[in-house]
């Protein structure tokens, strides 16, 4: 769009320069040229095109899923189990996957929120910004955000399942049976909690920083202690920000498959998970199974598309809610300051 607007804008900007005679051309960077500025035109065009192309990719992916998936998504599809054959187009349902994904995500939120919020409180309210320790904590958070999801999967298998799970079994169950020392809902949620910790910390911190310093000072001046100020003045103001963090974490975790491959996801289960040490079926993992292990890809394509659509709707709905909440928080904070 702006590629078309480009040239006219250029002329508008160049004219005053040319008219202002006393300016001499030269210097290390020569900005003005006599003729039409092809470089600027092409540069603006190319970057604009890149933007358009990215948006086109997004549109193609979403459109493709929507067109092929929508006709098959029905109430029956999302409210029934797999009923024996999960590759049967007419009988397959994805209720167990929706239940599995929801429960692992809810458990994860319970684990990650307290830790993330407390860390953010420490970083904004207590830590000195210049201290090396603060710098290391921030570095660790940034680094944790960039650890590949498969590494979290390995970590979950090595730490939660093999180490903590085995130790629990050894301590509480005398028999040789493994109860906790195997992939389970609890371990998948814990692994995801570690993965989404930076998301919650960053979002909470942002909302804490946006609260005017004057509010804290007023509270302290009235004789409240620091902890009281944080609990009664600062935290209530930060609730929308914390919610944004939680929603972003959930939408990130809901679509992740690699971390749960070895920590809890099951290929097939006849029942819904009943306890924390059960395995579970998962929406994302089911998409993987349907697209790679199906006995007849063409035949099962409707289930595949419909499952993808449900997964996308879930993560996108969460994302959009987070974006809206965050925009409102930022606006209110700007008004306060």
């Amino acid at each position: 769009m702006s590629a078309l607007a480009g040239p006219s804008e250029l002329h508008r900007q160049e004219r005053p320069g040319r008219a202002g005679g006393p300016f001499k051309e030269g210097g290390s960077r020569q900005f003005r040229t006599g003729q039409f500025d092809w470089v600027s035109f092409l540069g603006t065009g190319a970057t604009g095109l890149a933007t358009l192309l990215i948006l086109a990719i997004l549109a193609v992916i979403l459109g493709n899923v929507l067109i092929h998936g929508l006709p098959y998504v029905s109430w029956r599809f999302i409210s029934t189990g797999t009923a024996g054959d999960m590759f049967d187009v007419n009988k397959a349902g994805i209720l167990p996957m929706i239940v599995g994904t929801s429960s692992r995500v809810i458990l994860m939120t319970i684990f990650v929120l307290p830790v993330g919020v407390l860390t953010a409180i420490y970083l904004t309210e207590y830590a000195r910004t210049t201290s090396p320790l603060t710098r290391v904590i921030r570095g660790a958070i940034n680094n944790l955000a960039g650890v590949p999801s498969i590494v979290f999967g390995l970590f979950g298998a090595g730490f939660f399942v093999r180490f903590i799970g085995r130790e629990l079994d050894g301590a509480f169950y005398r028999s040789a049976a493994t109860v906790w020392g195997q992939p389970a809902l609890l371990w998948a949620s814990a692994t995801l909690a570690v993965m989404t910790l930076p998301v919650v910390i960053v979002a909470t911190e942002e909302s804490l920083r946006a609260i005017p310093q004057g509010l804290r000072e007023a509270s302290l001046a009235l004789g409240a202690s620091k902890l009281e100020t944080i609990l009664k003045i600062v935290l209530p103001q930060a609730v929308p920000g914390i919610m944004t963090g939680a929603i972003l974490a959930i939408s990130r975790a809901a679509g992740e498959v690699a971390p749960i491959l070895f920590t809890g996801a099951a290929y097939y289960m006849a029942d819904l998970p009943r306890s924390l040490h059960d395995q579970f079926m998962d929406l994302g993992y089911h998409v993987f199974i349907l697209s790679t292990q199906s006995p007849n890809v063409d035949k099962t394509r409707p289930i595949l598309y419909a499952t993808v659509l449900v997964l996308l709707l879930l993560t996108f709905a969460l994302n959009i809610v987070a974006i809206v909440v965050r925009a409102r928080v930022r606006k209110r904070m700007r008004m306060l300051q």
């Binding site: 540069g43 990719i57 960039g146 650890v147 910790l197 910390i201 620091k226 992740e256 998409v287 974006i323």
Partner: protein, 378 residues
Amino acid sequence: MGLRRGHRAKPLEWMAEKFIFLVSLSAILMIFLIFIFIGREALPVVFGKMNTALLQKVIPVSQMDKMTELQLCDYLGLTTEQFKSMDHETLKMLMELKVETTKTSSENKDASINTAQWRYLLGPYQWSGYSRPEYIWQPVSEVPKYNIVPLIVGSLKITLVALLFSVPMALGAAIYVSQLARPRVREIGKPLIELLAGIPSVVLGFFALIVMASALQSIFGSQSRLNALCAGLALGFSVIPVVFSIAEDALTSVPRSYVQAALALGASQWKAAWQVVLPAALPGVFAAVALGFGRAIGETMIVLMASGNASLLSWSMFDSTRTITATIAAELGEVVFGSAHYRILFLIGVLVFLVTFLTNLAADLVMHRLKGSIEGKK
């Protein structure tokens, strides 16, 4: 906070403060635990303690009772837990089995090689039946071959395709959205591009596998439908939002006065963006590309689904390719706990973690410096 308290903190308050402090160390703790618990599983291979050789010293079954528990475990390759769950008869059968396999495998001239040694992990070797030394990843065969070079090459190749495709596009879009576009376009464009980050990687993998693969094959006429190009392009889709949002942030954080000064000197908007803003934000752009690299090399589901997963050592974009991450995802579910194969999968996991850790660290340091320099100039 600038205010000093006039009274001593109450014990409860003191405890709460310490508790909050301890919790805030959790991110550091997690990084440590990841290192320790992934490294722990890989250690025996690192120090060459694993032995995968089929041909070992055979102990006659009659000697069984004279051996200690530990010796038996070691000889049969059992963990102590497995050992405890077996009775005498089962152990005896295992001993007999061991004698049998040794007899049959002694015909294979590679049978006496311990393939979990470093020189077989990294160097080429001429296995029996091959005409020249080769790098082979073939963990499930009579003589398991664990050469990780094909996997490293595969990871690098697909990452390269993804970056070549996504970095120019993401940077171009970042320049356009942050410097050139009108405010309205900017307000809509930015969240839309970031929405791309909200697409789960398994969905991108599905899209590459079901839609893109056939289309690309009909365009390029490649032999294998799933190849490095297909996976690399889909991987690029997941890298674009990472590079875009960090580069866009860096470009936006350059003080507005820079642009205004350039425009006042008669520069066009494009020249102000290209010659003034971009150089000022260059460290941020570097960080964006580094994080994009980290994202690409660590991504699992897309490459697992769209790359074809054949562990060939080739730099061709049209060959089926297997990456480190896809190998872990595909094989860890089926390996025997504690076996050499299991440990080598953790070893390559450590490798991926180290690479991303270092890129993240570099990006973090550069970003920190950029922040300092821009805040200083304001």
